[in-house]
Amino acid sequence: MLRDLTTIGGYALREAVRRKVLVVVVVLTICFLALYGFGSYHAFQEITRGGGGDGLGAALEEEVLTGSTLLGLAMFVTLFLGTVLAVFVTLNAVRGDAERGLLQPLVVRPVGRSTLLLARFLAAAAVCIAYVQIVYWGAVLLTDATGGYRPGNAFAGALALAAAVTIIVAIALLGTTLLSSTANGIAIFMVFGAGLAAGLIGQIGAALNSSTLEQISAIATWALPFEALYQDGLHALTADIDGVTGVIVQLGPFGGAQEAGPLLYPFAVAYLLGAGLLADRTFRRADL
């Protein structure tokens, strides 16, 4: 089983390398980080040039506000790019490959379909997790280097991104057992968009003090836990900011994130297992 996992996983990774997927991703990521570093540098330059004021201005720690907003943006972009990668590395894994006749020669070998699916999952998750970690830590380091800002709990953000992208890989793989390539790609992006919308509704709800909106958002983000994980990570980045700055950060686009509580990670694991088992069941019953 382990041997089959490494064979098939290695084969999927080799495909990504040969198909120049990795080259494209690396080049574009360097571009993104360069852009981020450039933007971050100028943002911090602006606030030091502006100087401190009195009253509210004096209580407002501008580096903290700028730094946390920039990192919030970085986290959002990282998850988005991670989602794009997750969708494309899993796009054809089951139905797409079966329709093109690529899957059948593998499935008839004495490797279980479950092993095949698990290997594809592990390979895709490994690639996507590594990717979001590189982008995220790159942004954290750049923010520190350009403005001397360090978030409260950077590790929580990293963990949240890793978990969120793993959930997306699982949803995308489940999608490939049900839908062919294009339909699956569209579906996953729509699901991602729905999660995003749910998060925004929650923030609007919090700003308007509308418990109905907040409830809708809570249900939707738990149904799509990558969003809850992302929000939780974002929250951890800014949770320790207090005073006036804290209030203003909370009002900003990346500050109003909801903390999910201790059940989030167990729930995410259960969700992952559920999606995995459903994908496995669908794949094992499929006529290819």
Binding site: T7, E15, R19, Q104, P105, L106, V108, P110, V111, R285
Partner: protein, 315 residues
Amino acid sequence: MTKSTIEGRRKAPFVVPDRHEIRTDPTRACVILSLVADALLAAGLRKTYRATVALDGVDLRVGAGELVGLLGPNGAGKSTLTKIACGLVRPTAGKVTVLGHPAGSTAARARTGYLAELFRFPGWASADEVLELHQRLARSGGGAEERTELLALVGLAEAARRRVEAMSKGMQQRLGIAQALVGAPSLVLLDEPTSALDPAGRRTVRELLEGLRGRGVAVLLNSHLLSEVELVCDRVVIVDGGRTIAEGAPHELAAAGGVEIETAAGLKRFPDAGREQVPTLVARLVGHGEEIYGVRVVTGTLEDAYLRLVGKDAR
């Protein structure tokens, strides 16, 4: 168990060894099974895709080391049957065993080689890499030697390093055949393996099939090229509308074209007569005062028999 009973079992269609026999002598169970078990045995096999009935109770047997041709018109259910045998498709009803194991089980798949009708290998991989992957998955310890041998067998010795995307369709099909033979399977299922091959390639495959038979490998060959099937197969099974409509050796199915005798009064046809009856027929005609100018035993081809059986006689 004596040799004669083993032989008897091998000949008898649809006989699986008695469970009781195996239970009372478990040490010999494997030996007996491998001697007795048919390479492929399907009984009452049904498969429906929603409203479409693809297989409607097919019976099929491929004995150990036997080369069986599976014929039938488009949509008859040949590919469906083959896919069920290798575990790609789940039957709706009926029973299929491969080398004594349920079709689709790991044990069955471990000893089966399969070439799909529509298949593709990843374009980025070389021929050698494709075979290497399949060696790993099939747990073949053949190494580079096996790969070289298989590529040579299908006439791709020069193309080991060539990437699949740079191969012609026929070359890919040759690679597909090599892939099906990785790990020395005991049963090989080939779904239209020569559809893209040039005449030389077809001959290569024919020789390869004969080689497999020589090594005791059972083959189910799914093909529309009747002349080829006729040349190489021990037995032919014809399916139509998801049912077995005929089976037998190619010469048995193809025979019985009748006898034609040219007399002064014209050509006389005896459609049911065979070669053995020629002397009697000639003697009778001469006895009636006829003058004989020629006698011809009409041997039908498999194609004639096929067209007659599937009711689409072109003549």
